[in-house]
Amino acid sequence: MTGRGNVETLVLLQPVAVDTNSPDRDGMLIVANGLLVGILVHLDAPEHGETTGWFLEAGFGRLNGVRAPIFDTLEQATRWVRDSFRG
């Protein structure tokens, strides 16, 4: 079970290469309490312009279809995932 009551969700990130059909390749699997809940990809393609950072490429379960902001750092992304599982 993920995110129950006030028990803090344990969020782990694991590097993975992702085929996005673009230069954005560096990714992180997001594992929350032992379950894969999403994939972050770092925006590297010049087309993104000023927008750089970590993008929630896909979400599963509670993160399915959720629109996340683009995170400057992985710490911010982790905090956001933990907040999403709170309550």
Partner: protein
């Protein structure tokens, strides 16, 4: 030069000189509206028909969390629902994308012209049917096409709709939409829109520079997204001669 409305209506069916004069009288006062300005908002009482003579506008809704969904693009010659004033209030917003020339057509003017000019009435109804058909096609687009085909399909449609009102030169046309606005239209993230545009460029299908979209190979772009223009119901894309039909309501053999 004929206004965009007349050109659009003539892309559906023939109009007489009297019809054209009546249509010109329908647009006496043109108002300039800046980019990204609401023309009418959800909850407003619709008391006139809005006609876009130049520029781009859109229909949209905003969800409680602030997310915006664009459901339709209005291009030169398009108007919002002709009988909208039957309803008590608007169920969505209409806002400009680029600076627009807008005409506010009062209800009485619509009543007058449709009473006196059956050809015009028929083409107005044609517009409404095509609006419905475009909405259906957008539903198919959102539900059943991959993101790259979805955006390619939008480009093919815009090319055709803008061409009939004389806004396409050498397969290039004004494209004032931001990537966020395309994302809000297509149900995609801006990141995915960026990547898809990049792919369409890499395939040599389009070029998008300085708010001008150039379709580099129209046939290939249409094949890429399996674009079938039947839903736009334009005269020049029909399979054959138009069915002969008198108006109103009485069809002939043939």
């Amino acid at each position: 030069m004929q206004n965009a409305l007349t050109r659009k209506l003539e892309s559906y069916d023939e109009l007489s000189d009297a019809d054209r004069r009546a249509l010109n009288d329908l647009v006496p006062r043109i108002r300039q509206v800046g980019a990204r300005v609401d023309l009418i908002r959800e909850g407003d009482e619709p008391d006139k028909v809005l006609l876009i003579l130049d520029g781009f506008a859109c229909r949209y809704k905003v969800l409680p969390d602030g997310q915006r969904q664009i459901m339709a693009y209005l291009v030169p010659g398009d108007f919002c629902d002709l009988n909208v004033f039957i309803l008590d209030e608007m169920d969505h917003n209409i806002g400009t994308i680029s600076a627009c020339q807008v005409v506010d057509i009062p209800r009485k003017a619509i009543d007058d012209i449709t009473t006196r000019y059956p050809n015009i009435t028929r083409t107005f109804l044609w517009c409404a049917l095509v609006d419905g058909a475009v909405l259906r096609e957008w539903l198919v687009n959102m539900g059943a096409r991959s993101p790259d085909q979805r955006i390619a399909h939008l480009f093919c449609e815009l090319h055709m709709r803008l061409d009939v009102v004389g806004r396409v030169t050498d397969d290039s046309f004004e494209f004032p939409f931001t990537q966020s606005e395309i994302a809000e239209t297509m149900g995609l993230s801006s990141v995915h829109v960026n990547r898809t545009l990049r792919e369409l460029r890499a395939l040599g299908l389009i070029n998008l520079k300085g708010r001008v979209l150039t379709i580099l190979d129209l046939k290939r772009l249409q094949a890429f997204c399996r674009f079938t223009p039947n839903y736009l119901h334009l005269r020049n894309t029909r399979w054959g001669e138009r069915r002969r039909m008198t108006w109103p309501g009485r069809s002939e053999e043939g």
